[in-house]
């Protein structure tokens, strides 16, 4: 089975983030790491390959720097990687990113594509559904459990008020939520082995994607303006001296909540 896992390198959420003049995230100034949920996607891909046989290919669309995340994914145990790098891609919106991903997935060949359900920087959560639409294969997104039986895939889809059980046939697009597994840490052996694993670099030309379909200048959405929200005024913090509950009640009454 050919399993492609989409991995995005994102800025470290623990550090302060800023916007560029164009209102996009200033990614250049930040250390990158694997989007958290994509680690769960990698883990699920590895588990499925271990249980059913097959190969796991990491796919990342992003600048040169994203190779750090690709190496980490390979050191977790993935077999090989495809890195789409092209200056024209910078600043792409979800519509363009999903286009590039779809063409790269097709070029790689796939039975199953696994993504995180959301990236911490864009937080749009639309790429997996867009990819399923573009590839014309079943959308098995927001999965907290994936079972494969021959060519059938059954997932538990987290819904707004519980969950749905959803079934489809391969090939398919799956996105995962963090409930699904516990991502492994790369072993020393894995880290050494990753250095020799093949990483194929592709450009837009290799994928026959027109540069006019991607990038900031061609994005279907644009930032009109942005402003720092006034920081929350420092709140009042009190220590409970046997009257903590009463003091909260007084605060609530003052704000007319009770």
């Amino acid at each position: 089975m050919n399993i492609v896992v989409c991995v995005k390198q994102v800025p470290d959420t623990a550090v302060e983030r800023t916007l560029t003049g164009a209102g996009t995230l200033d990614r250049a100034s930040l250390d990158g790491l694997i989007n958290e949920l994509d680690e769960y996607a990698i883990e699920e891909g590895l588990k499925i390959a271990e249980a059913h046989g097959g190969e796991v290919t990491i796919l990342s669309v992003g600048p040169e720097k994203a190779s750090e995340s690709i190496r980490k994914a390979l050191s977790m145990g993935a077999d090989k990687a495809v890195h789409v790098v092209d200056d024209a891609i910078a600043g792409s919106d979800a519509l363009a990113t999903s286009l590039v991903l779809a063409e790269a997935v097709k070029a790689t060949g796939f039975d199953l594509v696994i993504l995180g359900s959301e990236s911490t920087d864009a937080r749009t959560g639309v790429v997996p559904a867009m990819l399923a639409e573009r590839l014309g294969v079943p959308q098995l997104t927001l999965s907290s459990k994936v079972d494969i039986d021959g060519t059938d895939v059954t997932v538990r889809r987290v819904s707004d008020d519980g969950y749905d059980t959803v079934t489809a046939s391969l090939p398919a697009v799956v996105s995962v939520v963090e409930k699904i597994n516990e991502p492994r840490y790369p072993s020393f052996k894995g880290i050494m082995a990753a250095k020799k694993k093949p990483v194929r670099t592709l450009t837009l030309t290799d994928l026959s994607v027109d540069a006019s379909a991607v990038g900031l200048a061609n994005a279907a959405t644009e930032v009109a303006d942005f402003a720092a929200r006034p920081p929350r005024a420092a709140g009042e913090i009190v220590t409970d001296e046997g009257d903590g509950g009463t003091r909260v009640a007084a605060f609530l009454a003052g704000r007319k909540f009770i």
Binding site: G23, M130, D161, G235, G245
Partner: protein, 322 residues
Amino acid sequence: MAEVLVLAEHAGGEVKKVTVELLTAARRLGEPSVVWAGEGAQEGRARLAEFGAAKVYVADSGEFAEFVVAPKAELLAQLVGSASPAAVLVAGTTEGKEIAGRLAVKTGSGVLTDAVDVTAGPDGAPVAEQPNFGGAITVRSRVRTGTPIIAVRPNAISAEPSEGAAEIVAVDFTASEAARLAKVTEHVTAEKGARPELTEAQIVVSGGRGTGSAEGFKVIEELADALGAAVGASRAVTDAGWYPHAFQVGQTGKTVSPQLYMAVGISGAIQHRAGMQTSKTIIAVNKDPEAPIFEIADFGVVGDLFKVVPQLVEEVSKRRQL
């Protein structure tokens, strides 16, 4: 005036609150037409009329519940083709965003998610306000290609009534083969009881690992009930199985924007804050004075939640009786 499509969220003929919020926003952009996928439109019609729906496009098909997301996106694409709307508004739920994403690909349009406000720009085209970085920065964005598709966060826009005709227009719709690939075989809903819905509630009381156990978490429910609030939980709690996942607040759970959010025994990790930082008022109870949740709290008590919360419940009940 151009039509603005609003995809209704409904269950058992009942219109969800977010839908009337979307109608309120849609009226600023043009003439709102509701898109009703599935059954129950007759029951929901009165409420849609109350919030200014001019038309209600009804596609009464079981396919919307039977197959994941794709049929709804296909219905919207069909109506975008026939009605040439000025914009399409959907609820900014996880599913709503997926519908928006597929529709964007189908129609070659820009999509904006996580909007907390939508207004008409100088040229009449929609401008969406989106909180960024957990609310620290507000970005105002526009769509410049295709039909603007905007996913609006529930509970962010306050609904205002305005009369509309809500004329029912039956739509002939059959999902294509491509939209019938992912089949729902089972639908399980978590017990929510009589409490308000988490993303719609005015007040949310959330508990974290500090509650210690499923048994300990009951103090959160008691406080929520005293305040008429919805119950939320941190991931530590849902992972431990003390409370169902459907109630998780945060980056990978629900995003909430209530008037009042109470974080009890929650440290305030960035992934939790991402789901509640735009709440109007935040109260924290935590025994650790260094807990990051205090940085964003309007009022905080450093103390043991098992002492503070029961006293608060008692105090609230006392005041209620006055």
